[in-house]
Symmetry: C2
Subunit: 472 residues, 2 copies
């Protein structure tokens, strides 16, 4: 590989500062910025401050913490790339998922621990490690004589794991602050270790909380069993009527707006190098499950679904207790695809559950508030080509184009409000165990990610200028 | 009411020692003898020792703690009633239900607190308070010149709330030790405050634990949802197929051995003074639910049922977490009626759940080990008549005869192994909130219970001797 001379200095800076970059990431990971849990509100604020300080230290300017009704946003920019340079909006999030169940962690979730090339910590892959790649790539350019080849704006939120309501309100009001030529986000996995991927499709989300209330207190199941409707039995019946055993969602109207996969895209997706057996082994299942008319890749990336994410009711301690409980609770989320509307889906869910709820119990349905649209990004752009080149320079492999099953609500919001296409350059590994115990980030990807972003920012500037010259 | 002179001394003793008897009960209630929770094993042992000491102090002899594979039994007797006196076997249990959920208790479960004539504590009604009534009635006789009118044997177990496996093994081997003319148990409710009841029918129990295992770790519901069978969704489908929404259990063979209620008994049960509206209001439901062809009283006392007593899986903390969980767990118990066999029912449950379990998850079914048969006691006996008289003396009301929905496994065991009929003289109130937060014991029933048992022991001796004289 022949590296452009202008890249030598920042790449060499990044290579020489690997251990410092790791130490700094550890500091970031030690802050338990769990956005879903009110008792961690101050930790989330502390993470925002830590990130702002770190961005300033990296050479970003105008760094500020933007208060919201929820957790703060962090913004900083460096707009000194000079005439003809494009502007890149980099987005990431500094909040993390709850670490529970704690007893399954092999090392404490907020004490980063390196084992076999992975750093284990909640948020290491999702998304602190991936966000920090960009901060460090920017630092590498700023520290060198010529500065950044592009203008950059960095925007980080602290509510991604709770649906991002504050950012959703902020984006439409900040057209000028957030104006850019392209958005870049690193919050997705690669296809495998050493196999880069650019994600162009993401699912949306509607997240519901269902509470079933029966008697006003827990009852003795002997004295009352058979004469009082049991809220857990009732909840099980409700859940069983939401989705059939084959994976089809039974909520009326659920599939009405689902965009059909066209043959071209089915072909692209079918050509992805994907090892179903390895996939099943890595997660410990016998094989894939789901809608019979769709491939595994299609089920994950292009089909909506419904999962119970949590359930609790009655006695959950050791042994038995003969209680007929007063209350049962379930958390149920639906992943959405284009063109499902999360609000309409939440309404349809609520209507249906209310309708099928038995009259002897009281059923309450709420959303967690953070619904999001699915998104499809244009992959015929200079930015995607520059990203593909950058991956090739560092990994020696061109990235595959793929859809992903997760949700990054900001992608759809940037698209619809600011007209911005996003390049999803992921650096986590499929075995990163995000949202699960023992979340981990493959450390070579941290260093190679910084290199890749350095290549990308430079390459994208070149492609942009070339096109600009042609045009003028 | 004219009280027999021989009863004046023990009744007066009981009346004079009310505050001491209350203090002693409080000591008993402070010991968290939770048999289901391994971390309380030593507390259970401590409760057994405390009870043994207390029985000795009350005048019982040969008091001993009998070790078992599980929690110990406590035995003591006083066999000095002389020729022609009957022997009464008194059974109770000193273990208690788990107190969870703790946050719903208005005072700590193991710090007895008196409010409005009730003492609030776990085990106050079920069964420490009711067991202790007998110890104090015995003490009242022993302290007086003439001693006890009957021979008594007291047997207490520490595993009633976990199905009583050790006692079940002990009874068939101890025919001589436990031989008696009748058994008496106080572990049931009265019909209402001031309205005594003698229970002649109890339901049996089969208690199952169901575990559904999916992927080997919690997964991100975006990255895997739609392609991996969700263990909570699967468990909900299983539960929904165990019982229909009208209350009918769907396990093949479940009703095969159920003894049909005859018209005479339906008539007796239909004549019970029972206020459905008050019943519903007290527990905070709109009205009864259950099998349409049976009355509320029949559903509770004479029909088998199935209740999920607890369920847990995935994320159960605040807010949302988009996890596709590795595991879901449910505790499911079935109340049984004559002539269902708990082992056969447990087997039928296991077979059925295994059969309907989807192939993409691993389902494990276990029993908690403590299945029990339902029981029907003969109510045309001297002992029942003596109990009815005793209630009338103290409460001014004859007790009603009723079936109860709970399970007291020892009743069936005494019947089948020792040929002993049991009189179930209950002193708790229907609003005692047993097995639930804020369990409470109506204190007037504690003192009146002691009086009632004094009357009963004396009256039963008289009836027994009278019959004996006639016979000889």
């Amino acid at each position: 590989m022949v590296t452009d001379r202008a890249l030598e200095a920042p790449l060499s800076y990044a290579a020489q500062h690997q251990s410092a970059h790791l130490e700094e990431l550890f500091e970031f990971l030690r802050i338990p910025s769990i956005s879903a849990q009110p008792q961690h509100r101050e930790d989330v604020a502390r993470a925002a401050e830590w990130l702002a300080d770190s961005m300033t230290a990296a050479g970003l300017e105008n760094v500020r913490i933007i208060e919201t009704d929820g957790h703060p946003l962090v913004y900083g920019d460096n707009l000194k790339a000079g005439p003809g340079a494009p502007t890149v909006l980099i987005y990431g999030h500094y909040d993390v998922q709850p670490p529970e169940p704690l007893d399954l962690w092999e090392s404490p979730p907020f004490e980063p621990d390196v084992r076999d090339d992975y750093v284990y910590a909640r948020g290491s892959a999702d998304d602190k490690g991936q966000l920090f790649i960009h901060v460090k790539a920017i630092e590498a350019f700023v520290r060198c004589r010529n500065g950044l080849p592009v203008n950059v704006k960095v925007l980080a939120e602290g509510e991604e794991e709770v649906g991002g309501p504050s950012l959703a309100a902020f984006i439409p009001e900040q057209e000028e602050l957030l104006s850019a030529d392209v958005a870049v986000i690193s919050d997705t996995p690669m296809l495998a270790i050493g196999k880069p991927a650019i994600v162009y499709g993401l699912r949306g989300l509607a997240y519901m909380l269902v509470d079933v209330y029966g008697p006003k207190r827990d009852l003795h199941s002997g004295h009352y069993g058979g004469a009082v409707k049991n809220p857990i039995n009732a909840l099980a019946h409700i859940i069983a009527r939401l989705q059939d055993e084959g994976g089809k969602v039974l909520i009326p109207g659920f599939y009405d707006d689902v965009r059909t996969l066209d043959e071209e895209e089915r072909k692209i997706l079918s050509e992805l190098p994907f090892d179903e057996q390895a996939w099943a082994e890595e997660i410990g299942v016998l094989g894939p499950w789901g809608e019979p008319d769709y491939t595994l890749i299609e089920r994950i990336g292009a089909r909506p679904t419904l999962d119970v994410n949590g359930i609790v009711g009655g006695y959950t301690g050791e042994g038995g207790k003969t209680v007929l409980p007063a209350h049962a609770h379930a958390k149920i989320s639906m992943r959405l695809v284009p063109d499902q509307n999360p609000e309409e889906i939440a309404d349809a869910f609520t209507r249906y559950v209310t309708e099928i709820a038995p009259p002897e119990v009281r059923v309450e349905v709420q959303t967690t508030g953070g619904g999001s649209f699915a998104s499809i990004s244009d992959y015929n752009t200079d930015a995607v080509r520059a990203a593909a080149d950058a991956y090739y320079e560092v990994y020696g492999e061109k990235p595959v184009l793929m859809r992903e099953g997760g949700s990054i609500p900001v992608v759809g919001q940037l698209q619809s409000h600011l007209g911005l296409e996003t390049v999803l350059m992921g650096f986590s590994s499929p075995d990163a165990q995000i949202h699960a115990p023992n979340e981990r980030f493959y450390l070579p990807n941290y260093y190679q990610g910084i290199e890749t972003v350095i290549h990308f920012l430079y390459g994208y500037a070149q492609r942009f200028r070339a096109e600009h010259v042609e045009e003028s």
